[in-house]
Symmetry: C2
Subunit: 334 residues, 2 copies
């Protein structure tokens, strides 16, 4: 029946070891200037009392917490950028603690404000929605923040984003180079920043290439019916598309599912690499994001911002890479 005993503090350890508080602090922080014999006595006292230092007090005193927050859309989803963020932070001796925003603006705000009150040294944010006004006072009060995947609309904050425009251009040009003249685009809801950016880039490509634009671009929420009709529209009519560019990994999966065996008859380049898509079609050619570079850059930017809050804002665009696997190299079949 262990009653909840008051946790021992440095004072208790000092008393137990018969030394001064300062000496315990030195031992705990691996300060070399402490005598071997005393150090041993302190360590014995620590073990005897099950003493565990309290970082809250340490952080309060120090001013910094050595902690970065990551506010991401969904922790329990595949998120290679988050993994890269964790690794880069670890390499820099920083701890990353993450929480989900669940694509909910209200929850995002709760999470970010919570991290601010806990005085995390900085925050990596996958921003949701349009209105990030709540960030203004936090930034004014000293918050260091880096946006990932999309910018914080209306606010001048550091961010690191994939080169969506170049990715779409590469995909389009690749298909054209393989003889395709009628390329369709199936993308996600354009209320999502990246979806809009990619669709816009595609429209520009299609317009530059000549031929119909709007008839070739199908965007909207990911719903079974919508994907089905988009695929049908793309491949039907007097001038059916011979190639498709998909707007993100989820879209790729849905399109491939609808296409079934027919997917071998149409050239496809997907945006985003993903296990899911390549399961359905192992030879899927994709425009892959450089997750490691994104995560690493995010940490670099955040550390620079923490070191110098007055430094100019930087918006980094990370190159994407075309991964040729076969589906994007098919010739047109009309």
């Amino acid at each position: 029946m262990t009653r909840r005993p008051r946790r021992p503090t440095m004072v208790d350890v000092a008393r137990e070891a018969g030394v001064a508080l300062r000496t315990v602090s030195r031992v705990v922080n691996d300060d070399a200037t402490v005598g071997a014999e005393l150090a041993e006595r302190v360590r014995a006292a620590i073990a005897a009392l099950d003493y565990r230092p309290d970082e809250r007090a340490r952080h309060l005193r120090l001013g910094v917490t050595g902690t970065l927050g990551a506010a991401v859309r969904q922790l329990s989803h595949v998120n290679p950028v988050l993994r890269a963020v964790e690794r880069a932070a670890r390499a820099a001796g920083l701890m990353v603690l993450a929480a989900s925003t669940e694509d909910d603006e209200v929850l995002e705000r709760h999470v970010v404000e919570s991290m601010c009150r806990r005085r995390f040294d900085g925050i990596i944010l996958e921003p949701i929605g349009e209105d990030h006004g709540y960030l203004l006072p936090e930034l004014a009060a000293g918050l260091s923040l880096v946006a990932v995947d999309r910018p914080v609309l209306g606010l001048d904050v550091d961010c690191v984003i994939s080169d969506n425009v170049a990715g779409i251009r590469t995909a389009f040009a690749h298909l054209v180079a393989h003889g395709h003249d009628r390329v369709a685009y199936i993308g996600d809801d354009e209320r999502i920043y990246t979806a809009h950016e990619r669709a816009t880039a595609f429209r520009a490509c299609a317009a530059a290439h000549g031929g119909p634009v709007d008839a070739m671009v199908h965007t909207g929420r990911i719903e079974p019916g919508r994907i089905t009709s988009a695929v049908r529209a793309a491949l039907a009519g007097p001038a059916p598309a011979t190639a498709i560019v998909t707007g993100n990994a989820s879209i790729s999966v849905e399109v491939l599912r609808r296409l079934g065996a027919d997917s071998r008859k149409v050239a496809i380049v997907g945006f985003d690499d993903s296990e899911l898509a390549t399961l359905l079609r192992p030879d899927l050619t994709v425009v892959a994001q450089d997750d490691t570079a994104i995560g690493g850059t995010a940490i670099d930017l955040l550390r620079a911002r923490i070191a110098d809050p007055a430094r100019p804002v930087s918006r980094v665009t990370v190159p994407v890479e075309l991964v040729r696997r076969g589906s994007g190299e098919l010739p047109p079949i009309s």
Copy 2:
């Protein structure tokens, strides 16, 4: 050129508003016993100074942090239990901060100890490896911890686990009920706790049913070659299996990939529901874990442990459910 200004504290706000420190504290904590006019003055001062309360100090003073840690194998992987944990914690007014252990015992230790030093109120852990001795002093010092998915070997701590044995039994019995006499099992590396538990349960089923046991059970690390030969071994020989039970979601995917079109000729029941597996074979019958129950129970257990460190340890087993989709209801084809 904003120089890094010292963040304003409650003292500054009090001075600005011309009130006592105590009053600011009351306003910040929504204490009703403060006059409307004064409260307004305080709020104005807070806005004017961009004052943000510091939870480090608050938590230090209060003793508790209102924070739960989640140390999971990989943040950026699909993890429905983690999602359920976050939701249940949120409903209880607790914040969950998560970090990856990357299936690395050393990193797990770093993460857990780090959370302890930060005085998180409790920790949810997906334990890795065999040796969790480092937890002993933490538990002695007052750590509240709940293990999820597998127990902490050798330590008497709360945990919540799926009913692996019942799941395997259900899968086996289901196939037998559909006329199968020769059922094979393909599972993951038995050094993984759940993999071993499931394989053992399967052996017991096979033995009870009669017929060969060892020839029907194939376990080991997930490698292309190993899965290929396991599938071949299961379906070859004079008495080939007419049904297969797979040990987890990853195994299901690999087996389905190897089987290809042949998968329609063999009955299959997978362990774990998963988008990946059902992509390959949309009608995959599975033994599904109750993620919501697991996450909710984990939070319940953790809160109970925090409230009463002396309460008896509980090891909860959560029932699994057979989801019939077709692949497990195929008759034997010999």
